[in-house]
């Protein structure tokens, strides 16, 4: 599931360009939780993301961060997402649309 297993900080390599014909979906959300995307709310995001086959990444546009694997709480924490930050969520795979729809409801 994770193509960047050897590096805790994947940077933009997670964008995985060599998967051409797969459905993909991308959306920008704003963190609304006053405490930011902290451990507890982050856990819910990881839980939901893990239900889908699609590879799902997130980048924190407000911090100019690289994209991280949304199925890993340790990567999600590295986004340092606070209330008001914009995150770009991207999903690649057969259920990409459904994944993004489910995740959007959490922000």
């Amino acid at each position: 599931m994770s193509n960047n297993a050897r590096s805790p900080l994947p940077g933009d390599r997670a964008a995985h360009p060599q998967t051409p014909r797969q459905p993909s979906k991308c959306v920008v959300v704003t963190v609304s939780d006053p405490r930011g995307l902290h451990l507890r709310s982050g856990r819910d995001v990881v839980r939901i993301a893990s239900r889908f086959q699609a590879r799902i990444t997130a980048a924190n546009l407000s911090r100019n961060s690289g994209a991280v694997d949304l199925k890993s709480i340790l990567q999600l924490m590295q986004l340092q997402a606070r209330q008001g930050h914009s995150l770009r969520l991207a999903a690649f795979g057969p259920d990409a649309d459904a994944a993004i729809e489910a995740l959007c409801s959490l922000f």
Binding site: M1, S2, A5, R6, P8, L9, P34, R35, G36, H38, L39, R40, R43, V46, D69, K71, S72, I73, L74, Q75, M77, Q78, Q80, R82, Q83, G84
Partner: protein, 572 residues
Amino acid sequence: MQQLFHGLSAAPGVGIGNIYKYAPAAPDDTGGTPAPPAGDPEEEWERFLAARLLVDEELARLARIGQKATAEIFLVHREILHDSTLTDAVRAAIDAGADAARATRQATADLVRLFQGLSDQYFASRATDIRDVGQRLVFRLGGITPARQLNPLPDGTILLAEDLTAFDTTHLDQARVVGIALAASTPTAHTAILARSLGIPLVCSAGAQILQLHSGMFAVVDGIRGRLLVDPDEENLEQYELTRSRLRRFQAEALSQSHEPALTPGGERIPVRVNVNSRDDLLHIHPSGAEGIGLLRTENLFQHRTSPPTVAEQLAAYQDVHSYTNNHSLTVRLLDIGGDKPVAYLQPPAEANPFLGVRGIRLLLRHPQMLIDQAQALIELAQNVSPVDRIRILIPMISKVNEVRQTLELLEEIPGYRHCRRKLGTLEVGVLIEVPSAALLAHHFASQVDFLSIGTNDLAQYTLAADRVNSAVATLATPLDPSVLRLIALTCEAGRAAGIPVAICGEVAGDPSVQPLLLGLGLNEISVAGPAVPLVKSAIRRVDVDAARELAATALKCSRAQEIHQLLHDIG
């Protein structure tokens, strides 16, 4: 000779005993023993998976037996335990030839370093969670972990350390630890949450100098006021013994009623609020049952940058803090900065004695635009709140009546100020009483403001000319000195005559046993560190106000702090 160290209150209570100093080895240190040769990678991986299963069961068990706050910690730790980033890194290290324990150490140490480098403090603190999970795994893999030194411990142990992980705290000999003092850490760290649920008094952020102390020294951990007192003199020790026995009686009751308002038996409601120094403190507000923020320090917003924050930046920051007040008021202290914490863009002159120099309102009146911008941001916030969750501006370091007048004149000119303060009732202005002259002259300006708040830490140190962080004189600067009490009484009198409330926001207010004295002196509102809220509320519920007034009258006649301690003891 007694030594006093100031830290932060992280779990209430008083512990008296002997220091046991805990100096864990670095997490990736194998303790000098040569690692056994690694087996076949598949075998090592199987060992890792078996250890992970044991740790998972252990965390699940811990989550079941704890209270809700502690259960959350362990559930999150389970999540980290199964996280693909961690397990993939362990697998990679095993494939590269490491044994399971070494691979776990290496993978967690890399992640810990990575998180420690993050700029946001909350996320950087998650390094502790990762280290904790790593320790549990290494422990199960038979590796040496420092927590093996924490059990068993001698009776009456005061545990002293740089920091403790949640793992350390769950593995320590809980029945024998009567108090914990940490050089680092914060009141919202997991260790603090665990200590509160275990009922072990904890002082954190006490500074690196406590690590100079050694095992066997006799000490008191004062988790109420956030102090560590080593080799206490007889008077202090006696007081602490009394406080300890009193607290034990009330603790359970206090926690169960922390979300109820604090009403005296006569029905007077005393708001109990929290002092906020950092973002972490915000997380205490709701769980502790506090009614809003009684003192928000704003220095952090202004430091470590090259120009002052804009109105918009400040507004965003105050809005964020306000969202944590749970529909209660927010008291914001205007920038209280001086030569001790120089801010480059103000080009402060070098001062021999910054605490007696250009600081607080003295500095702001020399840089009026900074005062106006800060007030502007607060007024904009006040336009969008209700009188219940109103904004209160607190003016620091007032020593002259003129300074109050000048500040109010500047505020009057800011758009929206009059409307919010006079029409909407969503903005109040108050004076922080922390210089003796301000207490003595409070009756001259009380009628022009909406509240007074007494900062007893500074008031005591300015009254007694004793620096509270200089351990050679710190005990002189007690707010329970009769000289300070008389200044508090004068301030309360001025407030009463003007018909405005008087609050207290010093450390002493967090001590449940002084509540009768404070209410007897005429204080109307209390602001304390988050963990102290439940016990302070519970103490207020027992204050007979008539008896408290008599107590205050007697205290004001005393000549020595010791007599006042004795009075408090007699009524406790």
